[in-house]
Amino acid sequence: MSGRSLDHTVQVFEFIEESDSLASPQAIIDAMERSFAQFRFENFIMTGLPHPEQKIESLVLLKKWPLGWYERYTRNSYDRHDPVIRLCQRTVQPFEWSEAPFDPEIDSKGKEIMQGAADFGMRQGCCLPIHGLNGFEACLSMGGADLDLTPQTKPAIHLMAMYAFERARLVLAPSPRPNPLTAREREALRWAALGKSAADTGEILGVTERTITAHIGSACLKLSAANKTHAVARALQHRLIEI
């Protein structure tokens, strides 16, 4: 292995480590801008792939994309005719825009789109399709005027793009945290929030006061609460219970 290829490994691993701590879409955009610039990428966009009834604008996760081109692209619903989007839906492999097949003789829209991107400074581009769980389909598309695409750089770009995408997905669509409280603990806290004592609650639920105290105690532990009042406040604040 050449020293140069080893250099890329280090850069990619650093990017992946850094990406773990990026907390906002803007932080991700900034980090990507810095890291992908070494391969001379100037623009990039992450988006879900639209179903026939969806608009692509509603699926864009983040972008550093020429504004004029974005407006023209969405206004004309170019995604319906974009050879890059079409290939995305058919492959799991990353590809260069130039590999997305279309016949310029008969596909005038396809030609218009590829020419339009070039007019906005993106003569070259790469696209990474993402085919996830439960039919989740998306892509990260990146462009520039003169990209550094070689057998050495492409694997590095591929891996970086994948982790950049994952970070954006996590930051933008955080999965709801599971409620740490059991059904009984929630019930005990709900009655406490309504002003009932442990003895009252035990009577309502047909269990002993000691059982209720134990539920409240374990809820306190899970919520790092100092006492019952604190636990009720926290559970309400984090919407773990409703009254």
Binding site: M1, S5, L6, H8, T9, V10, V12, F13, I16, V92, Q93, P94, I130, H131, G132, L133, N134, F136, P155, A156, H158, L159, M162, F165, E166, R169, S175, P178
Partner: protein
């Protein structure tokens, strides 16, 4: 309902027919579908040097039929990454240790790839590893698997850069074993409890029919 059975050297006598099904399905998937010609064998069974008494199998059974599986192997012994794919690991040594396993031959039969079988098997995988005190699992996978793992809630770190193997971009990676990941993937799998089964033998089913792949 899918359940995931643990098969080791200790109980494999009770799972003879199931294991044979696994080897046959692996041949169908890896030789037939993916075209890994090196694995082709006249008896239609994919069995290699790591199918020995050190291997642990997690096998997904539905109504007694095999619908998926994977193989775990100790990294302290010569294993696939150390013997065949060390070139995929860059800038550091091949990851090995007493709490690190290697996962190989992951498969789901074709007609079950759309549903939750993947998530069930991945949940059972996290649970088994947690119970066994395993901290990390290494594997060589096609790159397109990474987002699927990540969306399942797995923390995955690459051990090298993507490399072409059999026409696919593949990568050596390590999956972290954690309660968080188990919780996340169990939710996706629609599991309320465990689907991991540790038994001495396969469930006896009078009407067990051989599985026919679509």
């Amino acid at each position: 309902m899918t359940s995931i059975h643990v098969i080791t050297d200790e109980n494999k006598a009770g799972y003879e027919a199931i294991l044979d099904d696994c080897f046959r399905l692996r041949h169908e998937v890896f030789v037939g579908e993916r075209g890994w010609r090196d694995l082709e064998r006249p008896d239609g069974r994919d069995v290699d040097a790591y199918d020995n008494d050190q291997a642990t199998y997690l096998v997904a059974l539905d109504d007694g039929r095999v619908i998926g599986g994977l193989r775990l192997y100790p990294t302290l012994l010569p294993h696939m990454i150390s013997e065949s794919f060390a070139h995929l690991v860059k800038g550091r040594d091949v990851l090995s240790g007493s709490t690190i396993l290697e996962c190989t031959r992951y498969f789901i039969v074709r007609e079950r790839r759309m549903g939750r079988t993947d998530c069930r098997l991945l949940a059972a995988f996290q649970q088994f590893c947690l119970e066994e005190g395993v901290t990390e699992v290494t594997a060589v996978v096609e790159m397109w698997w990474l987002p699927r793992w990540q969306q399942a809630g797995f923390k995955v770190r690459p051990l090298g850069l993507p490399t072409m193997i059999e026409g696919q971009h593949c990568i050596a990676a390590a999956i972290q074993i954690s309660e968080d990941s188990l919780r996340h993937v169990s939710r996706l799998a629609g599991l309320r409890g465990s689907c991991l089964v540790r038994a001495t033998a396969a469930p006896a089913l009078a009407d067990r029919v051989p599985h026919v792949a679509a």
